[in-house]
Amino acid sequence: MQVKLDGGRVSAARFAGDSCAICTASADVLSEMVEGRSRAEAAALGAGDVLGVLQADVRPTRMRCVTLPITVLAKALG
C-alpha cells in the first residue's frame, strides 16, 4: 500500500497485490476511505469500517483477508 500525506492528511492511497477477492475488495475500500482523513483517523480504521462498506457475508476463516490491508496500512502510517 502506498499512502501520500499532505500536511498530516492522506491525500491519496493506492495498493498493489496478488490476493483473493475479499482482500482486494478490502484494500480497495480502505484506499478510498482513508483519502482526506488525518493520519490518526486513517490509522484508526478497523475491520468493522471496511465490512460496513463491503456489505458482504465474510466468514471467520476469511477475516484475515479483510484485515491484511488494514494491518499493512497501519504499518505504513507508522
Partner: protein
C-alpha cells in the same frame, strides 16, 4: 465393486450436505474423514476401559495399557518395522520430526550440515531451523527439476561428510511426487548421514515396508490415515533410537529419579514422556484394521486412478494449470485457475459442496519454485469416487472469468 462404493457407507460424515449439496470431500491430504469403526472404538474405549497406562495396577489400567501396546504392534506390522520398540507414539508428524530434531540438535557442531529439499512441508523445515539455530549449522536444500521431482545429481553433490542428516518427504503434499526413498537413504548412508522421511502423505496411500526403505527415521500422523487427530508415530531403526539421547523428560520415560538426575526407561517408552493420547491409539488400531481389510495395494490403485483422472480432466480445461508429475504421482493434485486466487476457487467450490484446500499448503519454498502465492489442491482417499472428480472438473470449468 469400486473401493468407494464399498467404503462410502462406513463414513458417517459423508452423508451430510454442505450449502445444500452433498458433501464432496477432496481435502483428505489435510485430514481424512473417519470410518464408523474408528469413532466407535474410541467411544467404546472411553465408555468401558479408560484409565492411565502403565501405572495403574487395576483392571481398567491393565486394559488401557493392553490396548495402547496393541496399537504399537498393529503399527509395527502395518509399516513393516523389525521390532515393536522401533515404534514411538507422538502427537503427530510435526512432533515426531521435532523429537528427532531436538535430540540430534544437541549433538550438532559448527560446520555440520542438515540437508532438506525444496518440496518440504514446513513441518520438515522449521524443526531443523530451530535445531540449527545458534549452532553454526548450515541448512542446505536439494532443488527440483522438470515437473517437480528432486534433482538427484544435486542431491549427490550436496551430500558430503559434513551432512549429519538428510530430511525429505516420501510424498510431496502439493506436487504428489513420490520420492525414491530407498535410493536417497542409501546415498545419505554412504556419506555417514542419518535419514529422516516425512511419511505423512505416504502412509495413508501406499503399502509400506521399513525393511525395504531402510531409513533411520520415518514420521507420520494418524489423522491423515482415517485415524484420530493428536497422534503420530516416529519409527526409528533400533540402533539409531538407542543412541538417541532424549531431549524431553517427564513421567514414564524414566527408570529411577532423584531430584537432580534420572535414568532412562527402555525403548520405546524412553521417548514417550507424559500421559500419551490413549484413546487415539485405540482409534489408530481401528483405522489400520480398516485399511488392512481393504488392502493397501487396492487403496493405492484406487487413489492413483482418481489422481490420474483429476490430472487429465483438470489439464483439459484451458484456464487451468496442474502442478506436479503427470504420471507416477500420489493422491494429491494442485492446480491454479487463470485470474482466480486459490482462496476464491476454494470458496466458489465450497458453495457447490466441494471441499478443497487452498493456499501455500505449508510449503512456501515450493510455492516460490512454482512461482505462485498458492494453489488449490484436491486430494483423495478411499471413499472418493470417479464421479466426484468429474464434479470437481465441472465446477472448476464453470468458474469462468475472474471473480
Amino acid at each position: 465393486m469400486t473401493l468407494d462404493a464399498q467404503t462410502r457407507g462406513d463414513f458417517p460424515i459423508l452423508e451430510r450436505t454442505v450449502n445444500g449439496r452433498p458433501l464432496v470431500y477432496l481435502d483428505s491430504a489435510a485430514s481424512s474423514q473417519k470410518p464408523r469403526t474408528v469413532i466407535e472404538a474410541m467411544t467404546r474405549y472411553y465408555e468401558t476401559s479408560h484409565a492411565n497406562v502403565h501405572r495403574s495396577i487395576h483392571t481398567l489400567g491393565e486394559e488401557a495399557t493392553e490396548l495402547y501396546e496393541l496399537a504399537r504392534d498393529r503399527v509395527q506390522r502395518f509399516i513393516g518395522a523389525a521390532a515393536r520398540e522401533e515404534v514411538v507414539f507422538t502427537r503427530g508428524t510435526t512432533d515426531a520430526i521435532s523429537i528427532v530434531a531436538e535430540a540430534i540438535g544437541r549433538t550438532l557442531k559448527p560446520g555440520d550440515e542438515i540437508l532438506v529439499t525444496d518440496m518440504e512441508h514446513h513441518s520438515n523445515l522449521v524443526p531443523w531451523q530451530v535445531a540449527a539455530r545458534d549452532r553454526g549449522v548450515r541448512i542446505r536444500s536439494v532443488p527440483l527439476i522438470g515437473e517437480g521431482t528432486l534433482d538427484l545429481a544435486a542431491a549427490e553433490r550436496l551430500l558430503n561428510e559434513r551432512t549429519r542428516l538428510f530430511a525429505f518427504a516420501h510424498v510431496s503434499n502439493v506436487l504428489g511426487t513420490i520420492n525414491p526413498v530407498a535410493d536417497l537413504v542409501a546415498r545419505a548412508r554412504r556419506v555417514g548421514a542419518l535419514s529422516l522421511v516425512d511419511g505423512a502423505q505416504a502412509v495413508p496411500h501406499l503399502p509400506l515396508d521399513m525393511s525395504v526403505l531402510e531409513c533411520d527415521f520415518y514420521a507420520f500422523s494418524a489423522h491423515k490415515m482415517l485415524g484420530p487427530t493428536g497422534l503420530g508415530v516416529l519409527y526409528g531403526r533400533r540402533p539409531v533410537l538407542e543412541a538417541l539421547e532424549p531431549a524431553r523428560g517427564g513421567s514414564e520415560m524414566i527408570k529411577e529419579v532423584w531430584v537432580d538426575r534420572a535414568t532412562w526407561n527402555d525403548l520405546p517408552w524412553r521417548l514417550e514422556p507424559g500421559t500419551p493420547p490413549i484413546a487415539e491409539t485405540v482409534g489408530l488400531t481401528a483405522a489400520i484394521e480398516y485399511l488392512e481389510k481393504l488392502g493397501m495395494e487396492r487403496v493405492r490403485e484406487h487413489e492413483q486412478a482418481l489422481a490420474t483422472q483429476a490430472v487429465e480432466v483438470l489439464s483439459a480445461i484451458p484456464s487451468v494449470r496442474v502442478y506436479g508429475p503427470r504420471r507416477e504421482r500420489a493422491a494429491v493434485v494442485a492446480f491454479a485457475v487463470d485470474g482466480w486466487h486459490p482462496h476464491d476457487v476454494a470458496a466458489a467450490l465450497d458453495a457447490e459442496g466441494i471441499a478443497v484446500r487452498a493456499g501455500h499448503h505449508c510449503a512456501q519454498p515450493l510455492m516460490r519454485w512454482c512461482g505462485v502465492v498458492g494453489t488449490s489442491r484436491a486430494s483423495f482417499s478411499v471413499y472418493n469416487s470417479s464421479e466426484e472428480v468429474a464434479l470437481l472438473a465441472h465446477a472448476v470449468a464453470s468458474l469462468g472469468g475472474a471473480p
